[in-house]
């Protein structure tokens, strides 16, 4: 009969720390590059491309849903910058708990837009990210290697 050896509390904390760090880095990279690719068109990156891409996105969502153009345009024009800021904050570890909450809410808002145009595949993918963010929030108390920790982190 084998005897199981319970891991020590310190080792357990180390595993949680690494698990959270991996999640944080993945979500940070994903969110940051999601913002970066909004500036790309035909292999080149520019602000002009950004506003063209976002304009297309706003027109497309409005054209296929009940959402008014003023709302989709304002949302789209700010989306890329918000993704960059949140992505960078996650990578660097800036106010991680608050950043995760904001990122999760952003992904929920994106899901809402895709639900409005009945883009079920996109909604499902965003659901996966939202699940990962929820998991990260459960583990956020194990946040280490952070540049600026919040009081509650």
């Amino acid at each position: 009969m084998s005897e199981s050896t319970p891991s020590s509390p310190a080792a357990s904390r180390c595993e949680y720390t690494w698990a959270f760090l991996i999640l944080r880095l993945f979500l940070g990279l994903r969110t940051f590059f999601e913002g970066v690719e909004k500036f790309e068109k035909g292999g080149t990156y520019s602000f002009a491309n950004y506003y063209e891409n976002m304009g297309r996105m706003a027109q497309g969502i409005t054209g296929a849903s009940f959402l008014p153009l003023w709302a989709t345009r304002n949302y789209a024009h700010s989306l890329g910058y918000i993704l960059l800021v949140l992505g960078a904050a996650l990578l660097l570890g800036v106010k991680t708990r608050a950043t995760l909450i904001l990122t999760g809410l952003l992904y929920v808002s994106l899901s809402f837009g895709l639900m409005a145009v009945q883009e079920n595949e996109g909604v499902a993918w965003l659901g996966v990210y939202i699940g990962i963010i929820a998991g990260a929030l459960v583990l956020v108390r194990h946040d280490r290697f952070a540049l600026w920790r919040g009081r509650s982190d």
Binding site: E40, G42, R56, Q59, G60, E119
Partner: protein, 463 residues
């Protein structure tokens, strides 16, 4: 009290002017079309012999060509003749109707050209008569239902010095010309062409009928060589009038074999039969294998024509080489260019504008939704390095030909003919060339009947 009147403006005058303006307004489209017919040096007087199915197709295409004036229409069936006459009148022409082509040729001596769209067995008779009357002739394919008939047409054209164009219209299609001249011959995108395959699969069609009141009297039909009204309407299926489906549908595509490969075949192996339509004479399905000698080696070409199913991808001509393949069809949706994985990259040809990446259909990126950003094409996304099972080769990549025909499919061929009559072009399909095609095709029926491979001698394709 009398109504005060504006000097020179009476109620009668107002009504008369109004009526004239109204008539001018209604007639404006037709007047505009009539004006486009032209009367200048470039204007050609044309007669049409045969206002049936194919005649109507040619009329519709020719009506879009400026400076063509239809002066005569001829058909032994008044029903068809009236259709042609009315259509032409609608477009501002003033054609004289005739039942007999001989009468047409003698009564309208100012014709420059004649379009022959009658059944195959009278092509030689009608064409030779028109040529001898000094007219240039555009004759529908197949040139004749006999090789001897086709030879007589070439000889008459030579003797009279008139032009003879045969209606293998793919030879004037800019997409076909571009594919052969630029892609296959100049850029050699297919590498060495080793095989070809073509098909025309068409679903079951009912025999053509006719309104009982419009039937042509038996004696008139027999005078013009027809047994009865049913055979007159469905002549393509009967041996005395045509070469069957291989000459009806196969003629266009087998002609493209000869044209694309720049050769005539040395042998033909064929099988077929009348297996479905008991009231027809000709085969309703035919399978053919040709051997073509080309400067780069033998090309074996298969052809099938089926008249009981449209399954299997419609109609196309496929040319396969060791580096790529070209699938051509008059229907652009069946047209594609394929690159073998072992061939040099074709991206430089895209940069030069010679070929294009597919925008839609096979080989095209998945459609982008209105709110999505089009994805960038990255070299590492190419499928050329994909790993495949040892029993199969890597998937071919699909490419597009950046040339499309924006006209009716017969129009460029008719334009080429009329330009040649004006001395501004050379014929895309002169009689000599079409004779070789007719000989290539008509031997198929002999091979089916003989149930063995038949060979060709060089003299089979000439007069």
């Amino acid at each position: 009290m009398p109504t005060p009147q504006i000097p020179g403006f009476t109620r009668r005058g107002f009504l008369a002017t109004g009526a004239k303006l109204g008539a001018a307004f209604i007639a404006a489209p037709y007047l505009a079309r009539a004006a486009s017919l032209g009367k200048g040096a470039d204007s050609l007087n044309v007669g049409l012999v045969g206002c049936g199915e194919e005649g109507r197709v040619l009329l519709s295409a020719a009506l879009k060509i400026p400076n063509i004036r239809f002066r005569a229409v001829c058909d032994i069936w008044p029903y068809n003749r009236r259709y042609g006459e009315r259509l032409l009148e609608k477009f501002g022409h003033d054609p004289k109707p005739f039942e007999d082509y001989r009468e047409m040729l003698s009564a309208t001596p100012d014709l420059d050209a004649v379009i022959v769209a009658t059944p195959d067995f009278v092509h030689a008779e009608h064409t030779n008569a028109a040529l001898k009357a000094g007219k240039h002739v555009y004759c529908e394919k197949l040139m004749s239902n006999t090789v001897e008939g086709a030879r007589s047409m070439v000889r008459t054209a030579r003797e009279t010095g008139r032009l003879l164009q045969i209606g293998h219209q793919r030879r004037s299609n800019p997409r076909y010309i571009y594919a052969r001249d630029r892609l296959v011959r100049e850029a050699r995108l297919l590498g060495r062409v080793t095989n070809a395959a073509a098909q025309w699969n068409r679903s079951v069609t009912e025999d053509l009928g006719f309104p009982a009141k419009q039937a042509i009297p038996e004696d008139v039909l027999q005078r013009y060589g027809y047994a009865n009204m049913h055979e007159f309407r469905n002549w393509r299926w009967f041996k005395r009038y045509s070469g069957g489906v291989i000459s009806d549908l196969g003629a266009h595509q087998i002609d493209v074999f000869n044209w694309m490969l720049g050769a005539n075949p040395t042998s033909v192996l064929a099988g077929g039969g009348r297996d479905y339509y008991p009231n027809h004479e000709w085969y309703d399905n035919v399978f053919v294998i040709y051997e073509y000698p080309t400067p780069t080696g033998t090309v074996r070409a298969s052809y099938q024509v089926l008249t009981t199913t449209s399954a299997g991808g419609g109609y196309y001509e496929y040319f396969m080489g060791d580096e790529g393949a070209l699938k051509m069809s008059e229907n652009p949706k069946y047209t594609k260019l394929y690159r073998e994985a072992r061939a040099p990259e074709w991206d430089p040809w895209v940069s030069k504008g010679l070929i294009a990446r597919p925008g839609s259909g096979e080989g095209a990126p998945p459609p982008v939704k209105p709110w999505e950003k089009p994805r960038a094409h990255l070299p590492m996304m190419s499928k050329s390095d994909s790993v495949v099972d040892v029993r199969e080769t890597a998937e071919l990549s699909a490419w597009d030909i950046p040339v499309t025909l924006d006209k009716a499919i017969h129009q460029p061929h008719l334009e080429n003919f009329f330009d040649a009559v004006r001395g501004k072009a050379t014929l895309s399909c002169p009689g000599e060339v079409a004779l070789a095609t007719a000989a290539t095709i008509l031997r198929v029926n002999e091979a089916v009947a003989a149930r063995k491979m038949l060979t060709y001698a060089p003299g089979d394709f000439t007069t």
